[in-house]
């Protein structure tokens, strides 16, 4: 350690306000990455203390105990103990404890103390503690713990001043390291009781507000109704704010592309820039508003403490299909787009539950499937009423959404049967106190999600988009060709080749070909079909007609079902790769969805043909 820098590790129980404190200390000067080889987030920040010393702060994953149960807890344990490869031993551990929840949090403080390293205790949320009439004898606590204790209010400007002064001062001497065994662990609780009895007075064990809110939020009837309303509002916001912005961005890039095209000579380079580069960028960046709007809500719900309540209400339902209550929000997000859904699974600590959620998230009907559904339903399903009230087109659309959900439940159930690890994975979830979300913490969280998406995924998705462009552009149509250029391209050959695979489910070569660009982004299937069927002008209206003449009802229904289950889009697969750090999981999700879509389409095609 040089004299002018200090490495500090922030540790604490989940919900102790550690991340808010980290944000308070470091502001925007944070680096978010993954620990080597695992998909656990590593957050480091730094700031310059008044003395001129540079403090490097590592925000370690929250844990209840150094007896680690999950990969993120193992990291906290190993970094604190100084034996995580590639991670420097921290010069000082700052243990953060929620002053309103000391019964639980002090035990962890004692556990950290036994490591025999310099520790400072930050008593966080002191403002809330005072409001609730909790009185803590800090000097006495400091004396009994044998470590410096400072009060902090992570969510208030200047609320960490005391902590900064303390860590900027002399590094406190460490308590002697103590062995860790079952007997001494059991002793910790007795020590905590003694500490509480002598230093803390608490008028009541729970917050009045929590009791009142939980009576409604967790009520078997009202609780579910509130959850339904919250979810409805989130979806309204995604479609009212996120989707138009996404379309605007997609359209904007198309417009810029066209104007750039004017400046360039016609040819492959122009096509690459306009269709490959700008088209691809429009698709990628177009995802961003939807992702940000969804995460704005997810982060707000998470900060407020409502998310664990939602998980509590739905745990039983999710468990029956091999998931956990925590899977609910990511799966729900996937109805807008699977990408934020899969990124949102980071809130699931258990690796097995997390993977199961990631694998079935793409089966939720995302918004990109809607244009395809709208086109095919408009062209093939007659506008008529069933029982006088139900619109048949609406029923078909609803059935497709239902098909996705039922498919996901079936897949979840099968995965539960198939997996080798049948051990019990616990829920054991804390329901923290309700809190007013802070703008700064939500903003930093949003920025992180957005940055991860832009930095880590743009390259992959753009690369694949350009590849798709290449396949559908080369080789160019021969002189005097009559069909559209794509027919003569690699994609055309592949489409005709795929036709043999897809004939049993009723796809002709044009449809098979359209599936190739649809792999880049589902909604492009409409444009691709328009191209191969040589439809000009108003694509949607004209295309509907053209399709109705060329495809049978059986093929159209089969295509609808295909889109409900098929492995798409490649952006989703790129996110799966990124979030699970494994190509194997990409291969698994691609192949199971392909098999599922093929089987379902085959069934629908053959049954419809037999009936008609």
């Amino acid at each position: 350690m040089s004299a002018s820098t200090l490495r500090i590790a922030l540790v604490g129980n989940p919900n102790c306000g550690k991340t808010a404190l980290f944000n308070q200390l470091t502001g925007g000067r944070q680096k978010v990455a993954n620990y080597a080889g695992v998909t656990v987030e590593r957050k480091e920040g730094r700031f310059t203390a008044p003395s001129g010393r540079v403090l490097h702060i590592l925000d370690l994953p929250g844990t209840y105990s150094l007896e680690a149960n999950s990969p993120d807890e193992q990291i906290t344990r190993d970094v604190c103990a100084g034996n995580f490869p590639g991670e420097a031993v921290p010069d000082l551990i700052v243990c953060v404890a929620d002053a309103t929840n000391l019964r639980l949090h002090l035990r962890f403080v004692l556990e950290v103390k036994r490591l025999g390293r310099p520790v400072v205790l930050a008593l966080n949320m002191m403002d809330t503690a005072r409001q609730r009439g909790i009185v803590i004898d800090v000097p006495e606590l400091q004396r009994r713990l044998g470590m410096p204790v400072v009060e902090t209010v992570a969510v208030k400007r200047g609320g960490a001043r005391g902590l900064i002064e303390r860590v900027d001062g002399e590094v406190p001497t460490a308590a002697p390291a103590q062995a860790d065994d079952a007997a001494s662990r059991a002793e910790l609780h007795a020590q905590v009781r003694e500490l509480l009895a002598s230093t803390v007075s608490m008028p009541r064990t729970t917050a009045v507000l929590d009791d009142a809110l939980d009576r409604w939020a967790l009520h078997p009837v009202f609780g579910l109704a509130i959850l339904a309303v919250v979810m409805f509002l989130v979806f309204q916001a995604v479609y009212a704010a996120g989707k138009p912005m996404s379309d605007l961005i997609g359209g904007g890039f198309g417009w810029v592309g066209e104007h750039v095209a004017v400046l360039m000579p016609a040819g492959p380079l122009q096509s690459l820039v306009v269709n490959g580069l700008f088209g691809g960028l429009g698709t990628v960046i177009g995802f961003l508003p939807v992702i940000l709007v969804l995460f704005l809500f997810i982060l707000t719900l998470e900060e407020s403490g409502y998310l664990p309540r939602a998980a509590f209400l739905l745990d039983r339902l999710m468990l029956s299909v091999g998931l956990t209550g925590r899977s609910f929000i990511p799966l729900l997000s996937s109805f807008a787009c699977a990408i934020p859904g899969i990124m949102g699974t980071r809130s699931i600590q258990d690796p097995r539950d997390r993977l199961a959620t990631i694998l079935i998230a793409p089966l939720m009907t995302c918004s990109a499937r809607l244009p395809v559904y709208a086109l095919l339903i408009g062209a093939f399903i007659p506008m008529r009423y069933v029982f006088g009230v139900f619109n048949l087109q609406g029923i078909v659309l609803f059935s497709l959404y239902l098909a996705g959900i039922l498919g996901a439940m079936a897949v979840g159930w099968v995965m539960k049967r198939l997996r080798r690890d049948k051990s019990e994975h616990a829920l054991l979830m804390e329901l923290p106190s309700y809190r007013m979300p802070k703008v700064r913490d939500v903003a930093i969280g949003l920025y992180e999600r957005g940055a991860i998406f832009m930095k880590r995924l743009t390259g992959v998705i753009l690369g694949l988009t350009v590849l798709m462009w290449f396949l559908s552009t080369f080789p160019a149509a021969p002189a005097g060709a009559t069909g559209p250029a794509i027919n003569y391209s690699f994609a055309g050959y592949i489409g005709r080749g795929l036709q043999y695979i897809f004939a049993p489910i009723g796809f002709n070569w044009q449809v098979s070909l359209a599936l190739i660009p649809a792999f880049a982004a589902r909604e492009t299937a409409v444009a691709a079909l328009a191209t191969v069927y040589l439809v000009g002008g108003d694509a949607a209206g004209g295309l509907g007609h053209a399709l109705a003449g060329q495809l049978s009802l059986a093929s159209a229904l089969s295509l609808l079902v295909w889109f409900a289950y098929a492995p798409q889009c490649m952006s989703t697969l790129a996110v799966i790769r990124r979030e699970t750090n494994s190509w194997r999981n990409v291969a698994i999700s691609f192949s199971y969805m392909f098999a599922l879509a093929y089987a379902a389409s085959f069934l629908v095609y053959q049954v419809t043909r037999w009936l008609s």
């Binding site: 064990t205 929590d210 939980d214 616990a426």
Partner: protein, 81 residues
């Protein structure tokens, strides 16, 4: 009595946590979370589907436990304690 059988709202005290199998990490975690002898405990709410999971108040904290997890905890009535 097991915690999973405790009626909603009834005050009780933790007696012990039993391992469901050898070196049961869930039982160990329950102990770490404060499910230790003499600690007051209460079922605050139950899930809307099949009465699962349970919301447990222990110390100053609330935890959602599935019934299988709560069944590891033996409790006694506060009056006896």
């Amino acid at each position: 009595m097991r915690l999973s059988d405790l009626p909603q709202g009834a005050p009780a005290v933790v007696d012990r946590v039993d391992d469901a199998h050898v070196s049961d990490p869930i039982a160990q975690r329950l102990r770490d979370l404060g499910f230790v002898d003499g600690e007051p405990v209460r079922v605050v709410a139950v899930g809307p589907m099949g009465g699962d999971p349970l919301l447990i108040q222990i110390g100053f904290t609330r935890f959602a436990l599935r019934r299988a997890e709560a069944a590891r905890v033996t409790v006694r009535s506060e009056l006896v304690a």
